[in-house]
Homo-oligomer: 241 residues x 6
């Protein structure tokens, strides 16, 4: 899928930084549309979702192809996606930004969790959202949506490049979600972006501390005054960062 | 209003199933647009709202007909709706999918609760939402909206067929809400749909348990493998379902 | 900026009334669009935000003017706004109703709080929203938005008249937010509106109590029956209102 | 329906003025939302549509009530509306601002024309729009929409107060359309508004002529300079206005 | 691609009927979402576009993959689509319902025409629309859009199932466009639907003639009165239909 | 206002190229959002609008500040904008992307034309659009809008940086409109972009001719095959381009 598998140390780094920081790191590289727009966690988890993307694409449902009997087909792409998404991956669904019907429900998402999925994202909505919210796996959507996915969505293809919330998602891209939102990092950039974001986070943590102590942001954020860089150097030593 | 009053045992059954399950039961019958789109509970209640629909219809407000003095009229349709909605009914408001101004506020909704209302739904928004959220009666809307309803809405008619969140609502239809969303069941289908949903829920509860124990969904959900039906038969006995 | 500074006693009164009540008081005066549409508190605070408006205006970002290096400029309007917003004021941002990129993040908003800001409102979204939610200063937005503001927004002007969520905001207008929403009171009306809202709130509190005890709203809300005004007079005495 | 039938001379006056001028005349009277938003003529007619409103209300279609067989029912409200709309009236349809399916097609609209209808307006869309555009009766909609109305719309009620394009429409209100848009004049105001609009139009025609000859608008539009009123008096005489 | 190639006689039939009539024929078969929503012809052609679908799918553009240099790649999917779309086919583009940037421009669409394309449809917009409008090949879009497609769209895949304007489109489906809109007929239904639509059109033409002569629609449309069927039989003979 | 006045020869060049070509030239320079989204000419003029931007900014109307009497004030910013926009300039209005009420009407736009204005653009709508369409000056908007601008818009500031249709517009930027849409060229880039666009247009005209004669676009557009550059060189000579 990709020549850039996610290294454990990169994954660990991406677990400690915010989506906002990652968005800035990608902005520096000219990538401005990697945040998945208008999705939110079903419940705040307090820690990050991190994993490579495994994708599912929906098209508008044609009624004759989307009766309940379709689910009896073991080859139905939605079910196959759930059963073949590799452990540690994030399942990302292109639901055409519509929550008029569901992208999936609690049974499938529980199965994904049991199989070791790192999380799930749709730019539509989940049914049984109140149950999915309680699972030990992060999930992001636009809003709860109770109608079965057959009502408006046909699962058509697995692991193709897709759009999700107006962000481009290629299989194997690294997906990171925090309690605010979700970002998609091109696989080949994950390592350098993770490194840079860890550095940025150290500085931001230092800045927040300074600001909480009354410092002005001028000259501090960003660090245009030499003295702030010196203070930061000391802070890093003192805080083992 | 309807020849299909809600039986207590049907009401009880509808209290135990999810809107998602009911949506699938209606989908089987060719009804695909019965979920009220884009409304949410002001606060999760942990149990279902169930009751026949009593409706209120708004039209865009014409300024000369919608000054504060109108509320002094004891025949104002909004107030009449609150005072005549039968106990056990759900008041459903067609606010033209706009939360630019309120559909109602905490005084009226408290009165509705005191009169025995089973709940309230608008495809607009409530003012004093922070107070309505604390009431012992479920309420659903799109988002909080503080301007008085006179600003954009004129209450014009009571207990007519309406649209609410793009769902058709006929007086007497059975309205069910859970912590995710709200669905409208045509009155004549309520009993059979309730029965079927209880059966579906038993199977879904069994499936979730299987999946939590590591089962694949293929052949299980839906049950295309004989063995799963056998397991389910045993599970029902063991669990008194 | 305005000839109508906010008096401490007016501020105190505005702290005790709801945005809904204020919206009705302004509606009586012919002002129907003063509620900022589609913003919500990042976290409920349980008490009101009150302060005069200090404004920041964004225009769509032109890429050559909005690289990260811009933030090194001590004169960048976004940073200047944070560092010059007077203590006790509410910073109101015109983000063109778009949360595609952030209006600001936790470092700047923490700084605003440390400088004595009374609160912050944007009709876009904040990044680091999960952190801003925990601050001791109220903040309102449309939804979390992680991309840096440079992505789509250029901070262009400070303390001009702006639109925010389709409401007109003039510097010095009095901004009040509760756990539902935010309203903008023209400065010259703040005192009389505060007085009237306190009176209205007394009556509404009385009404809620009556309704909770089983009273009908007809003749009570509004008070078209003499007896209710008498009851209210007694209630005020008994409750020191 | 209304105590204010449309007098022939009022109708004649309304035929000579623009919707823009009428909107200003209603604005003076505090009515700000009488223009039907986002509708346009299927073809420019070069003269005004004028007539009292006869209304048809749609609700979202429930599939079991909206099969093609319904059209065989002579009492189907859509067909009844076409066959009972009085000659000289404008049929105004509340299609819930959705053109996902049609409000009507060329056969019905041709029949309406043959029966003497003054015009037709929907805030949805017409099918066979290319044919309706060629009829000798004005028609206004949002955009062409080919699916049969049964797909999403159920005609439910005739001659009730409705909303159309966010404007309130009461049966008997006077509807005026020009090549730009459509406005709804409350029946009791039609006469005085028509008179005033004719006066305003005379002045506007004078102003346009002055401006085409190089005059500034300051002092002229509106007429704050005495000399312009004098010029206008002469112009009226010279032009028999 | 499909086992149901478009027969010349079916194509001829589909050339004589309206999209509205075809929509009703599909509605009878339970297919309610086959009209491509919110697209319109760049110029009315006065005759139908008919051909099997050849599809192109766009995803949101990632900046590093969408620089102008990409167009130098002879394998760029947009250009390959233009150069491989079979003669007689309609190129249908999934542009994610966004006209923020172009789907294609006049050079590519002219090339498509020269290669024998039957037409082109996008749910986004064309650049150089004023030129494409003058071509001898029908084109449909949402609105003109001048930015190069690289700005927001990456052409990613050819001849996959896609969504276009919320309609499902499978390669080989038969696409028909008239001066109002565009519909997608599943390939296996094209023949029977064409036959039925020709019959329906004959009756509709008869009805329009009757209505123009003063007939009521009750009993005529649909034909619930025997006498109308008799009249129609005569009319067919007289008109060779 | 700007240090880069529009030279007559640059203006002439910009009159001969399309907005699409200019958009590509700006895209090469990293500017991707300079096309004003969702505006269209009131009538096609067949030639380009070109001129520096003079801006007018609207905020949401507060009712007490926006009564008809305001127009009697000779200092009302809307009227001042019309009377002070320099000859040859394009008046660009930030109407907050709303056509709920007008940005201006035919009297003011006629006056602008008489004063030598090069054109007018709003991201809202014009009233009297049917008359403005006939003027000898190009005008662009979203759709006709008959309500007076006071209904929702207050003209607040002249010649500030604004947003218009999500494009940034700085006073003095060069605005170019064709029959498709409108683009904003930063003043300092106008000359080089004009030069480049003229070159690009020559090549595009050559390409269209080749394609009309049956050439493939591969290797031709863009010119990756040497032979096409040679052909182009001959074509230029032959055609004096």
């Amino acid at each position: 899928m990709t020549d850039h598998p996610l290294k454990p140390e990169t994954k660990a780094k991406l677990g400690q930084v915010s989506v906002a920081t990652l968005a800035t790191a990608l902005f520096k590289r000219g990538l401005r549309h990697q945040v998945i727009q208008d999705v939110r966690p079903l419940s705040p988890k307090g820690n990050n979702m991190v994993g490579p993307a495994f994708t599912l694409r929906y098209v508008p449902a044609r009624e004759d192809r989307n009766q309940l009997v379709e689910f009896r087909n073991p080859g139905h792409p939605q079910r196959v996606a759930i059963e073949t998404c590799p452990p540690g991956y994030v399942l990302v669904m292109d639901s055409r930004k519509s929550a008029a019907a569901a992208s999936a429900g609690d049974i499938l998402i529980t199965r994904l969790m049991m199989r070791g999925g790192a999380g799930v994202v749709t730019d539509g909505g989940f049914r049984d959202a109140m149950n999915i919210a309680k699972l030990d796996m992060p999930a992001y959507h636009s809003r709860p949506s109770s109608p079965t996915n057959l009502t408006t969505n046909e699962a058509i293809a697995i692991n193709e490049p897709i759009g999700c919330g107006d962000a481009p998602v290629f299989p194997g891209d690294i997906v990171v979600g925090d309690d605010d939102s979700v970002i998609v990092i091109p696989a080949h950039l994950a390592e350098e972006v993770a490194d840079e974001a860890v550095e940025m986070t150290a500085y931001e943590d230092f800045v927040i501390e300074q600001v909480q102590n009354g410092a002005t942001i001028i000259g501090l954020y960003p660090a245009t005054k030499e003295e702030n860089l010196n203070k930061f150097a000391k802070w890093r030593k003192a805080n083992n960062r």
